[in-house]
């Protein structure tokens, strides 16, 4: 089922949770709504589900306007961060709930309900827990049961609100691999909310990046990572070095230092934010009149590449980040022969610039 969201706005008192958001999600994909907390991603998900109503705008499910439909009639499966399993029911009854509350005419016979619940429990690999109560399960098991319960009513779309948010790191990783596999089997249109970029980039077909009630960028994980469209997207995804300054010819002036940017379309004096990934940043030694000065803080050699952490010079501290990170290959590291506490300069061949106000 396709999901279309048109010009949705929603405020809670003076706080604008969603500001004229439009979104077009094609059928059958696994989509991540990614953003920092308070960016409106959960509100958007709840509006799509019908658990919350927008102040303005429409939600269109499978081509039909669903804005005024009750959550009951939208045929969406919703999975909550804290599972919301019914405590007084066994796992089996939890999964069967959606089938048992159907109107008498549409309710399948008991035998069919049993068979279907069994099938779903096998699908989430927890059929051996059918007679337990939710309180007797681990967090990961509960979330899988919550998913089976949502799938029991054969929803046209599956909505998951921070589904792995309450789980520890290891279970999280397992479950997100499992969710991906499940989606590849069922091909049900799914949207999940997360604030964990790694999770979004690893699991989703498509990532919707949100900030302050607006959509910053929509794209495949590769696009989101490699071609950030806005300064927010650049700063939010992955590790990044950030420099703030003003354009001066072919350079950006950062404090007393000059950083070459290699672009020709910038007017002198405009305030910019420049970003570079650690692997696109290089360390240079000696007086060559360019690069931002920094002090080597730590050299971390616990991987294939060495990561060098540097503390920004006083002047560069006007930028928000106090630390820089540079990835150096073993050969370069040998050539540089860095020592902790040494003053060096860093620059980037692939600097991305954004106007301060953009």
């Amino acid at each position: 089922m396709s999901i279309e969201v048109r010009n949705i706005s929603k405020s809670f008192g003076a706080f604008k949770a969603l500001d004229n958001v439009s979104l077009d999600l094609p059928s059958g994909e696994l989509i991540a709504l990614l953003g920092p907390s308070g960016c409106g991603k959960t509100t958007l998900l709840r509006i799509i589900a019908g658990l919350e109503y927008a102040d303005q705008g429409t939600v269109i499910l499978s081509g039909q306007d669903a804005s005024n439909k009750h959550v009951r009639d939208r045929h969406v499966g919703f999975v909550f961060q804290h599972y919301a399993l019914f405590r007084h029911m066994t796992v089996f009854e939890n999964v069967a709930f959606g089938l048992r509350v159907k109107p008498r005419a549409a309710r399948p016979p008991e035998k069919e309900i049993r068979a279907k619940v069994r099938r779903l429990l096998e699908l989430v690999q927890l059929d051996w827990l059918a007679d337990r109560f939710p309180a007797q399960l681990s967090g990961g098991q509960r979330q899988r049961i919550a998913l089976a319960r949502a799938l029991a009513v054969e929803p046209q779309v599956l909505l998951l609100d921070e589904p792995f948010g309450a789980l520890d790191a290891k279970v999280r990783k397992e479950l997100r691999r499992w969710l991906r596999r499940l989606h590849d089997e069922l091909h049900i249109s799914s949207v999940f909310v997360t604030h964990d970029q790694e999770e979004a980039l690893e699991v989703a077909d498509r990532v919707v990046l949100m900030n302050k009630g607006r959509i910053e960028q929509i794209g495949s994980p590769r696009e989101i990572y490699n071609e950030p469209a806005t300064s927010f997207a650049y700063g939010f995804i992955g590790t990044v070095n950030e420099f703030r300054g003003r354009v001066e010819g072919g350079y950006v002036r950062v404090g007393n230092d000059l950083l070459p940017h290699g672009r020709t379309d910038l007017s002198d004096g405009s305030a910019v934010v420049a970003f570079a990934r650690p692997h696109e940043t290089e360390i240079i030694k000696g007086e060559i009149g360019e690069g931002v000065e920094a002090k080597v803080n730590r050299i971390l050699t616990n991987g294939a590449v060495t990561r060098v952490e540097l503390i920004a010079n006083g002047d560069a501290r006007e930028g928000r980040k106090d630390y820089f990170e540079v990835e150096v290959t073993p050969d370069d590291l040998a050539a540089l022969s860095l020592a902790t506490g040494e003053r060096v300069r860093i620059r980037s061949k692939r600097l991305s610039l954004f106007g301060e106000n953009v």
């Binding site: 658990l51 048992r100 109560f133």
Partner: protein, 278 residues
């Protein structure tokens, strides 16, 4: 050797168990056993005569019947009250919340007089029912009203915290699975509240059975019609029939204890099912 057994993380098990038992004995068991010891001295036949006289039996029926009914009515309306207080905000909510506890604070005799004044034939409420031939004060209906009055806080105060803990997520989950409001309440909300409701029921019932002050004013105390068991005990005491009084009291104690045991059993069973104890 002493190390070999009883290595517990929580210290003081022996001490706390001992204290619990000693305290319970001193405050509850010893006074109550005096009732049985006193009545045991009178012989089986005399006991039966005192405890099963027709007037006394009528009072048992009235006392336990109205107490159970009052507790049941309180469960329904106490739940509604608690629901309103927890789920909605309205001006004066804090005040209403404080009002709930008033039946706890008021001397019961005051409550009895106030209720009688209102529900008597010429009282504010009583006169509305008078034309239909319904008398409230000085009938079992009056007793019921007094018992509802004193039992209400028990239900509200036991259900309220559970309702507050009940996340809206459960209802949202039920709705997203296609349940109607009624189905959501019946299958999700109510079972979750059931243990608390039973606890509240047991408390309200226990209080109602033992209630004296507020009831005797409004009951009218007509033999076979509106005499409650506590009144029978007092009557016997006033006639210096101490043994008779303790005989009636011990019947009351046993029945109350059995009923409370059943309710607590039910309560434990339902909370096990909600996975709280597991």
């Amino acid at each position: 050797m002493a190390y070999a057994h009883a290595r517990r993380v929580l210290p003081g098990f022996g001490l706390s168990l001992g204290f619990t038992l000693a305290y319970l004995s001193l405050i509850v068991l010893i006074p109550l056993s005096a009732v049985f010891i006193k009545s045991a001295g009178m012989g089986w036949q005399a006991f039966l005569d005192a405890a099963t006289g027709p007037r006394v039996v009528a009072s048992y029926k009235l006392s336990f019947g109205t107490s159970l009914l009052a507790a049941a009515i309180n469960v329904v309306f106490g739940l509604l009250l608690a629901w309103g207080l927890v789920r909605y905000t309205f001006p004066g909510k804090k005040l209403v919340d404080a009002l709930i506890d008033l039946p706890f604070a008021l001397p019961t005799a005051v409550a009895g007089i106030a209720l009688t004044a209102i529900y008597a034939k010429n009282g504010w409420v009583g006169q509305l029912f008078e034309p239909f031939g319904i008398k409230i004060a000085f009938t079992p209906i009056g007793i019921l009203i007094a018992l509802i009055f004193i039992g209400l806080p028990f239900i509200v105060r036991t259900v309220q915290p559970i309702l507050e803990d009940l996340d809206a997520e459960f209802e949202e989950a039920a709705a997203s699975l296609g349940a109607t409001r009624l189905q959501t309440f019946r299958r999700v909300v109510f079972p979750t509240l059931l243990p608390a409701l039973l606890t509240g029921f047991a408390l309200a019932f226990a209080r109602a059975v033992g209630e004296y002050g507020s009831v005797i004013f409004i009951a009218g105390n007509i033999p076979f019609v509106s005499e409650i068991t506590p009144l029978m005990i007092i009557t016997k005491l006033e006639q210096y029939d101490y043994e008779g009084a303790t005989a009636v009291a011990s019947v009351m104690l046993i029945v109350s204890f059995l009923l409370l045991l059943v309710i607590n059993g039910l309560q434990a069973w339902t909370s096990r099912r909600t996975g709280r104890e597991a």
